[in-house]
């Protein structure tokens, strides 16, 4: 069967994606949730690849299956059909040692201190306790939370807790970083701060990133490419490459990419009154 994946400079057909052994690739993924009252198809024939070290931002209408895509990439579940590949190997349910993931809710363990919340992934993966604590402290400092190591999650504000969730994912030094709307539940000001911080943090290890968001401006700011999804059952509607100059909010590129993405999402962009 012929692939309907869109052709741009940045995309590859599923056959070519297989050749990219370094990054993350979705190959003709379809997925449906099966419940007692019937099946709900969420993804239909989704194919795209994210090259190693690249940041792909996935945008789409709410409920279109963006989070499902992340769960598939994380190996939290298996697709109904199709294949997810990481470094050329198909992703199986279970643990991927390259993986770091942050969620919409910070999901901190309320019974652990902030330091232990960040360190737990490292100790689980076999690092000695004191070394993990040291690295956790370093990561907390990087996200601007030094001095909060002994606090408990309930003592933190939403934005701070979200930072801890991100620090926990980054402390693993992941080669594959999956982000499920990590900034969606914090206020606008904190979000801008976190976006800028996150951007500079990515420079440390250059992970491959799949970043789900509903905010197109966030996608332009953070992404090397934007994957626009259609409503459920979602397929890839368009892949928009983002160049460095497109991130200048005052520049023409930013407006052009913004318009392109929003039109693709079916949002009226001409609100200037003409």
């Amino acid at each position: 069967m012929s692939s309907i994946s869109p052709k741009t400079d940045e995309t590859t057909s599923p056959q070519e994606a297989r050749a990219h052994s370094s990054g993350l690739a979705f190959e003709e993924i379809s997925h449906a949730y099966v419940a007692a009252n019937g099946t709900t198809p969420v993804l239909r024939n989704v194919s795209f690849a994210v090259e190693s070290g690249q940041v792909a931002c996935v945008v789409g209408p709410s409920g279109c299956g963006k989070s499902t895509l992340l769960s598939l990439a994380a190996g939290l579940m298996e697709p109904t059909s199709g294949l997810t590949r990481w470094k050329g190997r198909s992703v199986k349910p279970g643990t991927n040692p390259d993986l770091g993931m942050a969620f919409q809710q910070p999901g901190l363990f309320p019974w652990l201190t902030i330091r232990k919340n960040v360190a737990i992934g490292l100790t689980t993966r076999g690092m000695a306790r004191h070394e993990a604590a040291k690295q956790a402290d370093e990561m907390l400092e990087t996200v601007g939370l030094s001095g909060f190591g002994d606090a408990y999650p309930r003592q933190l504000s939403g934005g701070m807790a979200q930072r801890v969730g991100i620090a926990r994912a980054l402390a693993l030094r992941p080669k594959l970083l999956l982000m499920d709307e990590p900034f969606a539940s914090v206020d606008a000001f904190t979000r801008l701060k976190l976006q800028a911080e996150f951007k500079s943090l990515l420079k440390l290890d250059k992970p491959t990133v799949l970043f789900v968001t509903h905010d197109v401006s966030e996608a332009i700011l953070l992404g090397d490419m934007i994957v626009v999804m259609s409503p459920r059952p979602a397929s890839v509607q368009k892949i928009i490459p983002i160049a460095r100059e497109d991130r200048d909010r005052a520049g023409p590129g930013y407006a052009r990419k913004m318009t392109e993405a929003l039109q693709c999402l079916g949002v009226e962009t001409n609100l200037s009154g003409n």
Partner: protein, 251 residues
């Protein structure tokens, strides 16, 4: 805490106890009851005082507590283990769910004739009975608490590289711990009731035996003193579990 609150906490419970004692004494006076039917609070207090100096009484308490703690321990451990299994795994839930649902309505007391038949008046029978009384409460509270653990926490466990048993122990069980602790408190109360009930019917020693013996020799004062001791021990045990669980959970 202000001085007023301290005073309230001391004085108000005393008022409650005084009301009960007043009704007790008043009933005796009003109906002109004989000591053998209902002794006065003072007489019971006197009996209680004498019991405290009696080694047999302490032996009975020791027997009852031993049966209770062994039964509770077995029932709690087994109940938590099965509860985690049932809460985490759907296949286990399907296999064990109906059996548990049916059995938990067969009250422990319905088993007393069988335990007497099987284990006689030995320690084992009482321990089994207490464990039985405790286990279902623990299974049901544990499974329910685990089912309501925030699903993101499990996904985080997988993301962090935890194996299924680690997720069950370090996330499910730990997140459910506060609910399990309050379940244990309720279960302990039922377990203590089961000990005494079992001793009433078939035992060679223990508080229940002490009471039934006193009842047969028409020593009503000792019967009531024994009942008061049962109440006090139950309250203390329940309070202790609350304190221990609280200290452990908020370390």
């Amino acid at each position: 805490m202000s001085r007023m609150q301290v005073l309230d906490r001391l004085v108000l419970p005393v008022i409650g106890a005084a009301i009960v004692l007043g009704i007790w004494q008043g009933t005796i006076a009003y109906y002109g009851l004989a000591r053998i039917v209902l002794p006065t609070p003072l007489e019971v207090a006197n009996t209680l005082w004498k019991l405290l100096g009696n080694s047999g009484f302490w032996h009975d308490i020791q027997i009852s507590l031993k049966e209770f703690f062994l039964g509770c321990l077995i029932g709690c451990l087994l109940g938590i283990a099965v509860g985690v299994l049932v809460g985490v795994r759907q296949d286990a839930r399907m296999v064990l769910g109906p059996v548990i649902e049916a059995m938990r309505f067969i009250v422990p007391f319905a088993w007393i004739p069988l335990t007497v038949l099987w284990f006689g008046t030995s320690l084992t029978g009482k321990v089994v009975l207490v464990a039985y009384a405790v286990v279902f409460i623990m299974i049901v509270t544990t499974a329910r608490a685990i089912a309501t653990v925030e699903p993101t926490l499990m996904r985080i466990g997988v993301m962090l590289g935890m194996r299924p048993w680690e997720i069950a122990l370090k996330i499910h069980l730990r997140a459910a711990a506060p609910a399990i602790a309050s379940g244990a408190k309720a279960a302990a109360a039922v377990g203590w009731i089961a000990v005494v009930a079992a001793e009433y019917i078939g035992a060679s020693a223990g508080l229940g035996v002490m009471i039934t013996n006193a009842s047969m020799s028409l020593d009503t004062s000792t019967v009531i003193a024994g009942m008061i001791v049962i109440g006090i021990i139950g309250a203390v045990v329940s309070w202790l579990i609350g304190v221990i669980a609280g200290a452990w959970l908020n370390h």
